[in-house]
Symmetry: C2
Subunit: 195 residues, 2 copies
């Protein structure tokens, strides 16, 4: 969104990236469904045959973006929790980072969770999602939580935060600060749970 995809003429070193950026533009403009290989190729400055050198088909490009989403989340959420010194703070930071990510990367987020791709058909995507969850449990675990408890909490905080993120994007909670705060409050409550 910030990186201008240069008005290219012929060949760039990185068509994959140009196509994926164009795809995100399309999703941002037209909604989760508004993506087409043809239009993305047009915007990347290549013909619509070119993508097939890099992707098996249309879905494959989308799947690549979903993977990118998981990778970015792993990085951002990990960074957000890094400096926390107890599980509650870690989960609070995670919740805020979750909502913030959805706001910052709304196209990617919508694409990942808008049902645009059938994740069952892409084992690597499915697996990346699982791995993300497990990676994120490491921090709270390192801060003293049991394995299973940490996994449960991370999953529940993620779920709850997801709802606040969606409600923010949908305009039900228009104010980002409110959404961030609400997600954090919910996360801290879940973290204090003793059941």
């Amino acid at each position: 969104m910030t990186a201008t995809p240069r008005p290219v003429g012929h060949h760039h070193g990185d068509l994959r990236n140009a196509l994926e950026e164009a795809a995100l533009e399309l999703v941002a403009e037209r909604g989760a469904n508004g993506f087409s290989l043809s239009e993305a190729s047009r915007r990347a400055g290549v013909t619509k045959a070119a993508p097939y050198r890099h992707y098996a088909d249309r879905e494959d490009l989308l799947a690549s973006l979903v993977l990118r989403c998981y990778r970015m989340q792993e990085q951002r959420f990990g960074a957000a929790m890094e400096s926390a010194s107890d599980p509650a703070d870690a989960l609070a930071a995670f919740a805020r980072a979750y909502v913030q990510f959805a706001a910052d990367e709304s196209a990617l987020f919508q694409l990942t969770f808008g049902g645009s791709i059938r994740k069952q058909d892409h084992p690597d995507v499915q697996e990346a999602g699982d791995r993300l969850l497990h990676t994120l449990t490491e921090k709270p675990r390192a801060l003293g939580l049991e394995d299973e408890r940490s996994l449960d909490l991370v999953r529940n905080v993620a779920a709850s935060s997801h709802g606040f993120a969606v409600f923010h994007l949908e305009g039900v909670i228009p104010d980002l600060s409110s959404a961030l705060d609400a997600a954090e409050v919910a996360a801290r409550h879940l973290a204090s749970d003793v059941s």
Copy 2:
């Protein structure tokens, strides 16, 4: 889903309904994007010109389904909270009903929140969503909460529950009972909030 849409030949009394049922079938089979007027018409046993007697265009049919979703939610969530005798119980019941609804009516739910329609373009949809939220605040209000507090709580519980609903549908929390329980726990925590 339970009502077989009869193998019709010509004219039914209720093409609108037949088309909308077919649309939900399509969403269930192919994902939130898998809907097309052509295919829905085919399944309803009419030509693809017929829908235009009932809908301005493709989006109009989808919008009608989103309205149906809001109407059903209003009814189901209202019923769920009915017998509650204090705000916490009401919100707990609301949370469970929210997740249960998503599970029962997953096609309708995905369609409503999967970005299939641009709600901005349909003022009636936007308004129905707002009204739903306000209607739902009545019960907790009747049980003693202040107006603003009730609205905030209902919105936050809805958001949190939404996340659990989505995570259940996405397979992150595969077990429905777990999702229901987790949503309820989160709701009760939010309800006990004093900030």
